[in-house]
Symmetry: D2
Subunit: 182 residues, 4 copies
C-alpha cells in the first residue's frame, strides 16, 4: 500500500447565505473551476454562496464523490445543502467558522456579510492565503487588495472573476506546495 | 445536476495511539471492511489504531480518494498519518474528540485509553450508535455490551472481530437510514 | 498596582443533571466546602449536581460575588441556574465539557452519567488532578481509585464524603502550587 | 439562600497585542471605567490592550477579586497577564475569540488587527452590542459607526474616548437589561 504523496488541497469558499442574484453564477463558476483545477472545496454547508459553489463543484468534470465538504454550525446533517458530499456537523455554532478556515489551504471569499468577514479575519490569523472576489458587493469586494494587519506581508489577493480567482488560488497553493507541501 | 440522494455514511474509528501489537491487524481489517461496506472512515488522524485503520481503508477495493478523513488536534496538516485523504487540522486540542464524534454516523472503538473513553462518552451524549470491539484490551473491551447511562435504551454493541464490527456498523446505520436518512 | 501573586484555584464540579436525591446534599456540601477552602468553583451551569454545588457555594462563608462559574453548552445565559455568578455561554454544545475541564485546577466528580464520564476522561487527558466521590452511584463511584490509562501514574482519588473530597482537592492543588504555581 | 437577581454584566475588551503607545492609557482607563460602572471585564488574557485594560480594571475602586477574566487561546494558565483574576485556558487557539464574544454582554474594541476584526465580526453575528473606540488606529477606528451587514439595525457605536465608551456600554447593556435581563 502506498501513502498519499500529494493530497488534494482544500479551497474554502466563504460567502453570504443571501447574496445578490449576480453573485450566484460567479459562486457556481468558482466551485466548478476550483474542482477542475484539482481542489476539493469546503463551505459552511448551507445556502446562498455555499450552495451555489457546491452545485458548481458537483458539475465539474473532475468532480468525484468526496470533492465537496460542508461544515455545519449545527448538529443536524440534513441541514446541509444537497450538493455536499461530506457533511461535518460541528454543533459549535460560530466556532465552525474557525474550523472551516483551519482546514483550508486557501480561502476564497465571494461577497459576504459579518460571517464572511469573521472568516477572512480568522484566515488571516491562521496564515492562510486568501483570494477576495471583487464584484462590487460584500466584504470580499471591500477588502480585496488590502492587508488586514501588519503580521503578514501579503494581502487579500483581488480577483475580478471566478476564473481569475481559481488561477490565483492555484498559484498561491502551488507556491506553498513547493516550500512545504500540503 | 443531481443532488446526492444518499450520502456515504461516516464511521469514526477511535482507539489508542499505542495499542498492543495484537490490535493493529484488527484495526487494519476494520478500516478495510468499513470502506468495502460503503463507509467513509474518520479517525483522529494520528498513529496507532488511527493509522492502522486508515492504512486498511487505503487498501480497500472500494477505496476512492476521499474515503479517509483525519481530524487532527493541532493546526499542522503534516502531522496526519500518510493514509489520510482529507486532513482536518482543528487546532482545538481535545475538543477535536467532540468534532470527530459529531461528524460520525456510527462510532467504532478499538481498545483505547482515556481519549477513546472520552469519545465513547461523547458519542453516547450525541446519540450516535456505537460498536465496541471486545478483544480483551482497553476501554472498548471493558465497556462492550454496556449502557453508559439511562438516557438511551441501547448499548455499546459488542463485537468480537473486525468483521463482526463492520456488520454491526452497517446494521446500525441502515436502520437509521430507513427512518431518517443520512 | 500590584499583580495577583496567587490566584484562587478553580475546582470544576461535574455530575448529573438528574442525580438521585441522596447526592444532592453531598453536592451542596461540596460546593460550600470548596469555596470555604479557597476555591472558586466551575460547573456546567445547569441543574442537578451543578445547581446543588452552586447553591452550596453560594452559602459558603467565604463566598464572594464571582466565586461560582457556570459554563453553558448553549448561547442563552438565562439557562444558567440562579446561583451562578459568572455565566459563560459557549454555544459549543458538548465541547463545553472540554472547556470546563481545561479551566479547572482540579476536577471533582459526583455520580454522573455519560457527560460526567466524558469530563473525567477529558480531565485525565488534560493532566488535571481528579477526585471521584464514591457514594455508590454513577461514574464517579465506578471509577474511584482507578487509572484511566497508562499515561499517568496517579488515579482518580476516591473520596467517601464531600468533606474528604474537599481535603483531597486542597492537597492535590497545593502540591501542584508548590511546583509550578497557578 | 437567595439567588442572584441581577448578575454583573460582562464587557469584553478586545484589541491588539502590540498597539501604539497612545492606545495603552485609553485601554487602561477603559478597564478602570468599566469596572467602576459595574461591569466585569473579559479579555483574551494576553498582552497589549488586553493587559492594559486588565491593569486598569485592577485599579478600579469597585474592583473585587473576580472582576477580570482572561480567556486564553492556549492551555497554560501562566500565559495570562498578571492582572487577570480568573484564567480560562481554552486550548482552542483562535476559537477562543468566539468564546470571548459569546460570554460578553457588550464588546468594546480598542484599535486592533485581524484578531480584533474577527471578534468584531463574531460579536455582530452573536447579536452583541458593540462599542468601537475611534482613536485613529486599528479596526475599531475604521469600523466605528458602521453596520457590518444587514442582519442588524444598529451599528458599531463609535466612542472618542474611554469615558464615552463606558457610558455607551452602560446604556447598551441597560436597555437590554430592561427588556430581558442578564
Amino acid at each position: 500500500m502506498q501513502q498519499n504523496h500529494t493530497r488534494r488541497p482544500i479551497a474554502a469558499v466563504v460567502g453570504a447565505t443571501s447574496p445578490s442574484q449576480e453573485l450566484i453564477p460567479q459562486a457556481e463558476a468558482l466551485g466548478t473551476g476550483l474542482v477542475d483545477a484539482g481542489f476539493r472545496i469546503a463551505t459552511g454547508g448551507l445556502g446562498g454562496v455555499m450552495e451555489a459553489a457546491s452545485r458548481g463543484a458537483r458539475g465539474a468534470l473532475r468532480w468525484t464523490e468526496g470533492s465537496i465538504i460542508g461544515v455545519l454550525p449545527g448538529l443536524v446533517s440534513t441541514d446541509a445543502n444537497p450538493y455536499v458530499d461530506i457533511v461535518i456537523p460541528t454543533g459549535m455554532n460560530y466556532a465552525r467558522n474557525t474550523i472551516l478556515v483551519a482546514m483550508a489551504d486557501v480561502v476564497v471569499a465571494v461577497g459576504g456579510g459579518s460571517g464572511t468577514l469573521s472568516e477572512l479575519a480568522l484566515a488571516w490569523q491562521h496564515g492562510k492565503p486568501i483570494v477576495a472576489l471583487d464584484l462590487g458587493e460584500g466584504w470580499s469586494s471591500r477588502l480585496a487588495g488590502e492587508r488586514l494587519d501588519q503580521r503578514r506581508d501579503d494581502l487579500l489577493h483581488p480577483a475580478r472573476s471566478a476564473g481569475e480567482a481559481v488561477q490565483l488560488a492555484q498559484r498561491l497553493v502551488g507556491s506553498r506546495e513547493g516550500s512545504r507541501g500540503f
